[in-house]
Homo-oligomer: 362 residues x 2
DNA sequence: AGTTGGCAGTCTAAGGGCTAGAGTGCTAGT
DNA sequence: ACTAGCACTCTAGCCCTTAGACTGCCAACT
């Protein structure tokens, strides 16, 4: 099932040239830039064979070859060089994270920004959902005599806090009692268990219902994963640099998808056991069907904080993107074990090239 | 300096038709749709006169007329009908604000979203800067033995809070004392006065420096106005519906400006004494030079919370946009006094039509 | 004086045909 | 197994032409 070394070299040449130029690659292109020792005719034969194998296709007769998703898959798994980041890239990353980072949202934002800046693709960062976080603490802080701040703390960090208005002027004692009650009811519970109303808690809450409700609201807010504040896009305008989005329709469709975050969420749910996930044109939604999405899981202090990655044309500089995501992921983790956790690649299952004869040649 | 009623009617017709169709309006268009009692030749004469007055211009000979910024100004000030919102629009607005709104960020977001949805333009909402807010309260809440949440409360509401890590395990008493000290130092001070390091406070802080620093950090964060979380864009992809952004270059430039929030901020600083500000193609930055920006000041409970508005082509449906912004502004304010606070209009100062002869007609 | 029909003149946008060039597949020869 | 050469194909860009859309102006009309 393996192809000859020469075919691999040629395929790699085509993929890389195509990534750089966005134009169908001809036999003479390959010869000139990569294999001057062979004639273009020989390369033509090889290209033809690679097409037969499903790695290449021609946009039309008398055009060069373009890689199929299959080809990108092979390229990523086997042919792609693992680049080291350049010094200026490393400096840029350092400069982003050297200033104090305040809170998880800030980490996400900076990560997205630096990824976009280095790769020149649109980047996305999402906070991982908090469904299996466990409530450790609840604080109710009196702000004024008729309002208080409710803070929910989990083993993963502070959930968003929320101010609550209460009627009448209330004493410090009242708030203290409320806090004790509330904490007792919620401590040790898992977020996902609380998404639906809980009869036990309903019963306990009594006169402190307003606080219980607020806590519940904060929690419910966190269990659905669509909170816009945990979804960062950076470098959106960079898609326009890609020739594949040079037509208005495509650009518009793409913008629509990026904005309507809902459709993006399922795509981003990367496999948690793999460090990187690469999705090549695999989504049902037609706007994403000619996109590639590369996401990495990010872990800080042993806790998963979310995914970040890039979205761009299928013709993406995987080598660079993978290197950058890998590096940043290692940096945030803080560990220096360099074992890259593996890459899960999924590609479009039926790429409509012309029918391939299954039964030998012609 | 005033023009004839008939000229006004014709100008209004041209402006409205152009807003609807985005195509140069011909004399026969005006005749057919608005003034069937006149001949197209008469209208041609009037159009020619309006061009002489600087309200219209022709993209080329043998094309119809297009309004100049002058024309839009007159239209907004005098000719534009003040629409009432339709029931479905009112329902939409109500539905957005009926669910509980959590915090100021939420108000901004929802406002932006509903504006974009109703007007079909890209909308922007920014929180007003907090420079003249006064610190009322500071709370330090112990979360774990080695971390605490610092909350700064002003007369305008809760500033962002921030967690602070401290070394070693510290007692409740320690945090209480820290809170008392910190509060004493900051209470009653204005945000803008604290943007630069304050020697008095520096002196006082002593062993609680870490808390003082955190408070300062929160404050400084608020005095520069570029916090991305207080800047919402909604309906970005809607610019693509506008034919004036049908070329890639323009679309790309526009996206760039929207993303690089820095250049947008000064434009949004609306005049505070006016309810609405309309900016027609007035910005230096070339990308915004053919944009119109309409912003309204939003006031909740007597306190300014920010500006919201739309950004779109100069050929904008001002009638609808103004009605919507007006209505929402009134709604949020809670008052039902229907005096619309006035509109400040500024237009491009030198619109380069062909030279107008100042000295009578030839 | 204000208004109108008619007409010549002008400019654009869209369609059609043409050509240069790029690239392939095939065949025959090394 | 490789290569040179050639016929064939398809595209992208260019020019040309034309239909149509408007205007401006003039002369006639009210």
């Amino acid at each position: 099932m393996s192809i000859s070394v020469r075919k691999e070299r040629i395929l790699q040449a085509v993929v890389e040239d195509y990534i750089n130029t966005a134009r169908a690659i001809s036999s003479s292109d390959v010869q000139a830039k990569h294999l001057p020792e062979l004639s273009s005719a020989t390369i033509r034969n090889e290209l033809s064979a690679l097409e037969e194998l499903g790695y290449l296709y021609q946009p039309h007769t008398s055009a060069g070859r373009v890689p199929t998703p299959e080809a990108y898959k092979l390229y990523i798994e086997k042919l792609m060089p693992r680049r080291k980041l350049t010094n200026s890239e490393l400096d840029l990353i350092k400069s982003y994270f050297s200033n104090q980072v305040v809170g998880m949202g800030d980490v996400l934002r900076k990560t997205a920004k630096v990824i976009s800046e280095i790769t020149n693709y649109t980047s996305i960062a999402v906070a991982s959902d908090m469904n299996d976080a466990i409530i450790e603490n609840i604080r109710i802080v009196k702000l004024t005599p008729h309002s208080a701040l409710v803070v929910v703390v989990t083993d993963r960090g502070v959930l968003k806090d929320s101010t609550v208005q209460v009627e009448g002027e209330l004493s410090d004692d009242y708030f203290d009692t409320a806090a004790r009650f509330t904490l007792e009811a919620f401590r040790g519970r898992k977020i996902s268990d609380l998404a639906s109303p809980d009869p036990v808690i309903e019963q306990v809450c009594g006169e402190f219902k307003v606080f219980f409700d607020t806590v519940m609201q904060i929690i419910v807010n966190y269990s659905d994963q669509l909170r816009p504040e945990d979804f960062m896009l950076e470098g959106v305008s960079k898609i326009f640099d890609q020739p594949e989005y040079n037509s208005m329709e495509r650009a518009r469709a793409m913008m629509g998808v990026l904005e309507g975050r809902e459709r993006l969420f399922p795509v981003l749910k990367a496999r948690e056991d793999m460090q990187l996930s690469i999705n090549i044109g695999r989504e049902s939604s037609n706007a994403l069907s000619d996109c590639a999405i590369v996401t990495a899981n990010y872990i800080v202090d042993g806790k998963p904080i979310g995914q970040a990655g890039v979205i761009g044309p299928i013709r993406m500089n995987y080598s660079k993107v993978v290197s950058v995501l890998d590096y940043i992921s290692q940096t945030l983790k803080g560990s220096s074990d360099n074992e890259s956790g593996g890459i899960a690649i999924s590609i479009q299952n039926t790429y409509n090239t012309h029918n391939t004869d299954h039964d030998g040649k012609e």
